[in-house]
């Protein structure tokens, strides 16, 4: 036996280590960029050669490389003459340029694989992937950071795969990474580097503090876990915190954030003159208990849940809205609301939650809707290919769609015994699947005798979605609340939770999530926690260059509906939507068509719409505000508040102070008062006085300060 082995070795000493296609060949192609969306990983491939995006389907890629077109891409007799080698080395004309060095080790590996017969051995499977960094905090920008990629395989070994890992900085001007993982930070701040090896992606955060010792631990004024986490990050990055906002700013901020309304002047004055140390706590509790809070947060959830009336579905949407309003008013925990929605069925005119299925066109749209709203993830990429920046697969996407395939839409939402979606990868009906978890048992010929869960897989899905252990549901919910109140999500965008989009403050997000779960998933609890933090109460006047660290408050543009209501409150002229003077935030539940809201950029009915603010950069919006009826009509309205004030013979100073309080929830400072007082003519020139007064109010309403919740 030994002699036979020796003989075999003598015959060809170079016939050495087998090369594994999945874990050795594929990483070379990915590192070379062959399977990116711009090259052969495009949906239609390129140059007649189609690879799966970032090598997510090595089985198909093996066929494309080794078998397709009768093996044209490999030359078994002369490996160097293979297209697989000649193209990326540009020995043959290659539109993608030189991707692999003719003298490099990767070339030799590919060549050796071909010479060994180009097999797909399946020698080992990747079981883990992690990035080890020489440091995560970079003090000296001159010192490079070594990132090492370590891959664990199923036979127990761990290998440094840095040379075959793709390192992609989010901002390539701020960070450069060479092919070995040696990283140079060029700019101070927080930097994310997305790394990829085979089907694993990992985000690496590097912090380069702005200034050494700009903040020190003893400066921290910890007001609770939220502030502790925020200040810890501020200390790490070296940012000073802004001073606390004044009382006028806080009261305006709280009113807009919690009720979608400007505070009445009396409320603002009362708060500023109030002395108890817990006055903010008491105001927050008062607002959380108010009818206006229910209206506004119903409106916010309605936007997210697509409660959007059209002529066609007006009564159904009213039922949807009424149910949602009652749930918010009663403080129904969010997981219970989600459960009712996910299991919604019945007549859409009578059963509000059933409309959760009436606002989407089909099962795939429902899957995307559910994943965005309740999981905070964008699953739609996985419709056509495995998600390139996360672990979601086509099986996940179409499996989730299959769960909704038996839901029949119409006047009555019902679950039938048939319905399927076709998996484009297999051409077969997709198997129902809880994303990232497991397949569900399926009975193709479902009968009434089949178990309830088998007939309606939504039950199992719902149990998974709303469970406290679900890694997405509570997390994405608190992140949305944080985003609304703080102006930016800890994960941003709020519906894009993924491994390659890490939270700015992961520990804070973890804590908020657990706190939300521990307190029964009540929205009001988490909203209160955030509103009472020091981070929420900071001034917004300081430098906004790094808003993601919350050193200052982030000014938030008002949503279009809130803006319109605020204009109505200031001018005393309600929006006249089809002759009905209701608040704009209630339109979602009503069949009202508001021209003003359309002009300002309200949401469409086709999509979840969580932050449609007045777009200050939109020229048409600006023109309408400057010259259109949205403001002019209300400012000059005969029944408007300005006319009442002018009729009262109020002096210019009083008019100025009155409208400053109504518009900005504060009194004018000396300069402002002096400026405006100077503009007003004497009272006896009534026409001129009134004209200036109109200009004055118009000026306040077109200012940035009014349009922003700062």
């Amino acid at each position: 036996m030994l002699s036979l082995l020796s003989l075999a070795l003598l015959i060809n000493e170079s016939a050495a280590t087998p090369v594994d296609f999945d874990t050795q060949v594929m990483p070379i192609l990915t590192k070379a960029g062959c399977n990116t969306g711009a090259c052969h990983g495009a949906a239609a491939g390129r140059g007649g050669f189609h690879l799966s995006l970032y090598g997510s389907r090595p089985d198909r890629d093996y066929e494309a490389i080794a078998l397709a077109l009768e093996g044209r891409r490999l030359n078994r007799r002369d490996s160097a003459a293979s297209l697989l080698l000649q193209k990326p080395t540009e020995e043959l004309n290659h539109e993608g340029g030189t991707r692999i060095d003719l003298d490099g080790s990767d070339y030799q590996t590919l060549k050796q694989w071909i010479e060994l017969g180009a097999p797909r051995l399946g020698q080992r499977k990747l079981t883990g992937f992690r990035i080890v960094s020489s440091t995560r905090v970079v003090h000296d920008l001159q010192q490079p950071v070594q990132l090492s990629a370590l891959a664990a395989f199923d036979h127990g070994s761990e290998q440094d795969v840095s040379g075959w890992t793709v390192f992609t900085p989010e901002d390539s001007s701020s960070v450069t990474v060479d092919h070995t993982g040696l990283t140079k930070v060029n700019r101070r701040g927080r930097h994310i580097i997305v790394t990829r090896f085979l089907d694993r992606v990992e985000a690496v955060e590097l912090i380069a503090p702005l200034e050494e010792s700009a903040a020190t631990p003893h400066e921290q004024t910890t007001n609770g876990p939220i502030d502790a986490f925020v200040e810890q990050k501020l200390f790490q990055i070296g940012l000073h915190t802004a001073h606390a906002a004044d009382d006028f700013t806080i009261v305006r901020r709280l009113f807009i954030d919690l009720t979608g309304r400007l505070p009445a002047p009396n409320d603002a004055i009362a708060y500023s003159t109030d002395t108890p140390v817990d006055k903010k706590e008491r105001l927050v509790d008062r607002l959380l208990a108010s009818r206006e809070f229910t209206d506004f947060w119903t409106f916010r959830l309605a936007k997210m849940l697509r409660v959007a009336s059209t002529r066609r579905n007006a009564k159904a949407m009213q039922a949807y809205y009424v149910w949602l309003h009652a749930a918010v008013a009663q403080g129904v925990p969010f997981n219970q609301m989600a459960r009712q929605l996910l299991l919604g069925e019945g007549a859409v005119l009578e059963n509000g939650p059933a409309n959760f299925y009436a606002v989407t066109a089909d099962a795939r749209a429902q899957a995307e809707f559910v994943s965005r709203v309740f999981l905070g993830i964008r699953l739609q990429c996985a419709n056509c290919h495995d998600h390139p920046l996360d672990s979601w697969t086509q099986d996940d996407y179409h499996g989730l769609s299959a769960i909704f395939a038996r839901v029949k839409r119409g006047d009555i939402i019902r679950v039938t015994q048939s319905g399927e979606v076709i998996h484009p990868g297999t051409g077969e009906p997709a198997l129902p699947r809880i994303p990232g978890q497991r397949y569900l048992s399926v009975s193709r010929q479902s009968t009434p005798e089949a178990s309830g869960t088998e007939r309606d897989h939504r039950t199992l899905l719902t149990d998974w979605v709303v469970a406290p252990q679900n890694p997405y549901f509570a997390r994405s919910t608190v992140n949305r609340m944080w985003s609304h109140l703080m102006g930016r999500g800890l994960v941003e965008p709020v519906d894009d939770h993924r491994a390659t989009n890490p939270a700015t403050h992961p520990e804070l997000l973890d804590w908020l999530t657990q706190d939300f779960i521990d307190h029964g998933m009540h929205l009001r609890h988490t909203i209160r926690q955030i509103c009472l933090s020091d981070a929420y109460a900071r001034s917004s006047t300081a430098d906004q260059s790094m808003p993601e660290f919350y050193a200052t408050a982030i000014p938030k543009p008002m949503m279009a509906e809130v803006f319109l209501d605020a204009v109505s409150d200031v001018t005393g002229v309600a929006d006249d939507a089809e002759g009905s003077s209701v608040r704009a935030v209630s339109y979602a539940g009503l069949t009202l068509d508001s021209r003003a809201l359309t002009l300002l950029g309200g949401c469409t009915v086709d999509d979840s719409c969580e932050s449609a603010a007045v777009d200050a950069d939109d020229l048409s919006v600006q023109l309408h505000l400057l010259n259109g009826a949205v403001l002019n009509h209300r400012v000059t309205h005969a029944d408007g508040y300005l006319r009442t004030v002018l009729a009262s013979e109020m002096a210019a100073k009083q008019i100025i102070e009155t409208f400053y309080m109504r518009v900005f929830s504060r009194l004018p400072n000396e300069a402002e008062l002096g400026f405006w007082t100077h503009q007003f003519p004497s009272r006896d020139k009534a026409t001129a006085f009134n004209a200036v007064a109109e200009d004055f109010v118009w000026s306040l309403l077109t200012s940035e300060e009014f349009a922003m919740n700062h």
């Binding site: 077109l69 193209k87 797909r120």
Partner: protein, 333 residues
């Protein structure tokens, strides 16, 4: 149900001896050496990309990157090997009068190759290289004077079969043409393509007659039914897993069925009552043309079945696989 033959042959190059060495090691290390022992010996053979059988049924011709091999039908033993001056061979066919063998292929991304050889001694009559990529198929007209060629460069070429002089190029496919056939009416030429269509041409005028576009994925191969009654009928297979039967002269899709796997090759049985498809799941499927009843011949290969040819007199076929094997299968009645 099916017979197989594994002819031994000498190693062609030093590289193959290296492969043999590795295979031997793999065979000896029976446990834990997943790579070599299981897949080694089979995987080192280049894919068998084309097959044809002489009209008397005595010889099988197969083509691969190793060249052309002539085998005896009864045991598939290699009687002769003929190197071909190109990297890839994609098709080989014998003319109706059994006087010539055409071999097509080329060097991928560089040039095409077509060679016409005297049959059965395989001495070269003429050969040509042209274009910038390979040819996937060649087909003699019944008269033997015209040779049609299907090119990766999307073109369908007509050449003088006697001397290789180009006659015309049929342009119309938007992606590589994968197969080409000429009907016995001395007028109609069929080509299929990655662009999911089958084009029907009048090759005398160079005009396109119609486009058959029911396939929803690339069309890989076609075969003409070997009967003369009624309208001509062809079968086509594609990556959409369908086998489609057509009457191309009137543009009619007669019927179709869907297989479990995409087919790479197909042929009609000599009686014209069944279509035999070689598929990517390593199986061969027999489809009754009139009823579309499907019979499966499983586990023919651990790789793809790349090529297939039906015996002209017996109810048998021979298949070539991506793992480099040639196998004979006796069909059920």
């Amino acid at each position: 149900m099916w017979m197989s033959a594994f002819p031994t042959r000498p190693c062609l190059t030093q590289r193959w001896s290296g492969h043999l060495a590795l295979a031997m090691i793999g065979l000896m290390l029976t446990v834990g050496s997943v790579a070599v022992s299981a897949a080694g010996p089979e995987a080192f053979e280049p894919p068998v990309t084309c097959l044809c059988i002489s009209a008397d049924g005595e010889y099988v011709v197969d083509g691969s990157q190793a060249g052309i091999r002539i085998r005896r039908w009864h045991d598939l033993a290699v009687e002769a090997e003929h190197p071909i001056p190109c990297a890839q061979i994609h098709d080989c066919r014998i003319s109706a009068d059994q006087s010539r063998l055409v071999v097509v292929g080329g060097d991928p991304g560089q040039t095409s190759f077509v060679g016409v050889y005297a049959w059965p001694d395989v001495s070269e009559i003429w050969s040509r290289q042209f274009g910038e990529d390979v040819l996937y198929a060649g087909s003699f007209a019944q008269s033997g004077d015209v040779l049609a060629l299907a090119g990766h460069d999307h073109g369908v070429y007509l050449v003088n079969a006697d001397n290789g002089e180009p006659q015309s190029i049929l342009r119309g496919h938007s992606k590589p043409a994968t197969d080409v056939r000429i009907l016995n009416d001395s007028r109609t030429l069929l080509s299929c393509s990655i662009d999911q269509t089958i084009r029907v041409w009048n090759y005398q005028t160079g005009s396109i007659v119609r486009s058959l576009n029911n396939h929803t994925q690339p069309v890989i191969a076609m075969a003409v039914r070997p009967v003369t009654e009624g309208l001509p009928m062809i079968a086509s297979v594609g990556e959409d897993r369908t086998v489609r039967l057509w009457q191309p002269t009137i543009g009619r899709l007669v019927r179709f069925c869907r297989l479990k796997s995409p087919a790479n090759a197909l042929t009609w049985t000599n009686t014209g009552d069944r279509i035999i498809a070689g598929c990517r799941d390593g199986c061969v499927y027999s489809i009754v043309a009139d009823t579309l009843e499907v019979r499966t011949y499983p586990d023919i290969s651990s790789g793809w079945v790349n090529s297939i040819a039906a015996h002209p007199k017996q109810s048998s076929i021979v298949v070539g696989t991506s793992t480099g094997r040639v196998r004979k299968i006796l069909l059920d009645h």
